[in-house]
């Protein structure tokens, strides 16, 4: 560009001056927070009642970070005089977020709607061992699971 040599330098200075007068878009984190989109993969929530201990999620997980133990229980028959029904109940359901890579295969593969994604992401811990969320804590995340977003028309 056949412009006199110093012109490019001045043009750049005009850009910085213009930005000096704009309000910075910074979000001051502890005071006001950015709301993540509804579909953001922050943490996995577990609905223990729906889980039938089918072990699919633990098998499909690429990082081997879901540890499940369950036992069988006899349940009264559905209608009187029917056969005793056995139902497997969860004893332990841990997800180790130190290993998890948030790929979402477990949520996708679960046939019983027991696992949900929640955009909650403020669960950093002091020690890495605390990243192993047990069944009770995964249940607490259920409250933070949002409604699915409305779709584009």
């Amino acid at each position: 560009m056949a412009r006199l040599p110093g012109f490019g330098l001045l043009e750049g200075m005009w850009v910085t001056l213009r930005n000096l007068l704009h309000r910075p878009p910074t979000v001051m984190y502890p005071k006001d927070k950015v709301v993540p989109p509804a579909r953001a993969r922050g943490v996995i929530a577990l609905d223990a009642e729906a889980c039938t201990v089918c072990m699919l999620c633990a098998r499909e997980c690429p990082d081997w970070c879901i540890y499940i133990e369950g036992h069988k229980e006899q349940q009264p028959p559905a209608e009187p005089g029917g056969r005793e029904r056995s139902r497997s109940v969860l004893d332990r359901f841990d997800i180790d977020y130190a290993l998890c890579m948030y790929c979402g295969i477990c949520v996708e593969v679960c046939p019983f709607d027991a696992l949900f994604w929640s955009p909650e992401a403020e669960y950093s811990e002091g020690s890495i061992a605390d990243l192993l969320h047990n069944q009770q804590r995964l249940g607490e995340w259920l409250k933070t699971v949002p409604e699915p977003p409305l779709l584009e028309s």
Partner: protein
């Protein structure tokens, strides 16, 4: 006999000078943080101090002071420890001749500007000492680059000042300001515009600020000769850099912008504020450069000094001398 007027007066003056310089540097540090941030669409210091983060420089100072003061194992300890002191003293020494108002000056030497330039070249020595004694390859390269650069830009700076001295006919700072008052125009308009450009460019290089910050090129040499420093020694270097900026801005405004004089304002009362306003304007300019431009490679930087600035400064001297004689 020790306590007759002279020594006490000198002691008080030096104390006042230290307070002014340190205070001025802290203000410039805060300006750099805040203005630079807003130029980059950030907020900058926010929490330090009640509002606007004004106490950030103080917080930095306290933080650095309580940090551990490490000396590398195989460093040359005496030289390593002395380097930051030399750098800070070299910069403070320049303020002896800066006139805040005709009477508000530590010592109006009739050598004035000549002494200031000599004192400011101490900084080069400090950078070399730091670079060499840190026993770290990157620091060594940073130190060498600093030395080459500062020497290369010492010359145009001095030659630019010579232009002013010829026009003013004196070396003493107060008389230079009086000459500009007599001329009715500050020298930047009254004949020394080229000199002003050269002086500002050269002082940018002296302070190794962008676009000449090769010695502290973060992306290559981590932080050049200051890499191994921490704690109070790093604070001294950090303060020396901004005190240097304060000094360069003060001298430039005295030589070229008419110092403490502003038409229509009483010099005695408003003198210091006028000078500080001009220093603020020049500091803003230097901060503006830093947050806009990349840095030059040092061979380009050297060729820029030797092939452009020095000839330009010489031409400026010749023109000034001819005009001086002709008018």
């Amino acid at each position: 006999m020790i306590f007759d007027g002279f020594w006490v007066l000198l002691g008080v003056k030096l104390l006042a000078l230290t307070v002014v310089v340190i205070g001025g540097s802290l203000v410039i540090i805060y300006a750099e943080l805040k203005v630079g941030a807003h130029m980059q669409n950030r907020v900058g210091p926010y929490y330090a101090g009640v509002r606007w983060g004004w106490a950030q420089p103080l917080a930095d100072a306290v933080k650095f002071l309580q940090k551990e003061d490490l000396v590398p194992a195989d460093a040359d300890t005496k030289v390593f420890k002395a380097a930051p002191m030399v750098s800070l003293m070299g910069t403070m020494a320049v303020f002896v001749i800066v006139p805040f108002s005709p009477k508000l000056i530590v010592r109006d030497l009739d050598l004035g500007i000549f002494y200031a330039l000599a004192a400011s070249s101490l900084g080069t020595l400090a950078m070399l000492m730091a670079g060499w004694s840190s026993a770290n390859k990157f620091s060594l390269m940073g130190g060498l680059r600093a030395a080459a650069q500062l020497i290369a830009y010492e010359l145009p700076m001095v030659l630019a000042v010579v232009g002013v001295v010829i026009q003013a006919g004196t070396l003493s700072m107060v008389q230079i300001v009086d000459a500009q008052v007599a001329l009715g125009l500050p020298y930047v308009i009254g004949g020394q515009a080229v000199g002003f450009f050269i002086f500002v460019t050269a002082s940018l290089a002296e302070l190794s600020r962008t676009p000449f910050d090769m010695p502290i090129a973060e992306s290559e040499l981590v932080s050049g000769y200051m890499t191994e420093y921490s704690g109070i020694r790093f604070t001294m270097f950090y303060l020396a850099e901004y005190a240097g900026l304060f000094a360069a801005a003060a001298i430039a405004s005295t030589l070229f912008l008419g110092g403490y004089h502003f038409p229509g304002l009483d010099v005695e009362v408003w003198g210091p504020f006028v000078l500080l306003a001009k220093v603020g304007a020049l500091a803003f300019l230097m901060i503006w450069f830093r947050w806009t431009w990349p840095r030059l490679r040092e061979d380009q930087l050297q060729s820029f000094a030797w092939r452009w600035l020095v000839p330009l400064a010489l031409a400026n001297i010749v023109v000034t001398a001819v005009l001086k004689v002709a008018l």
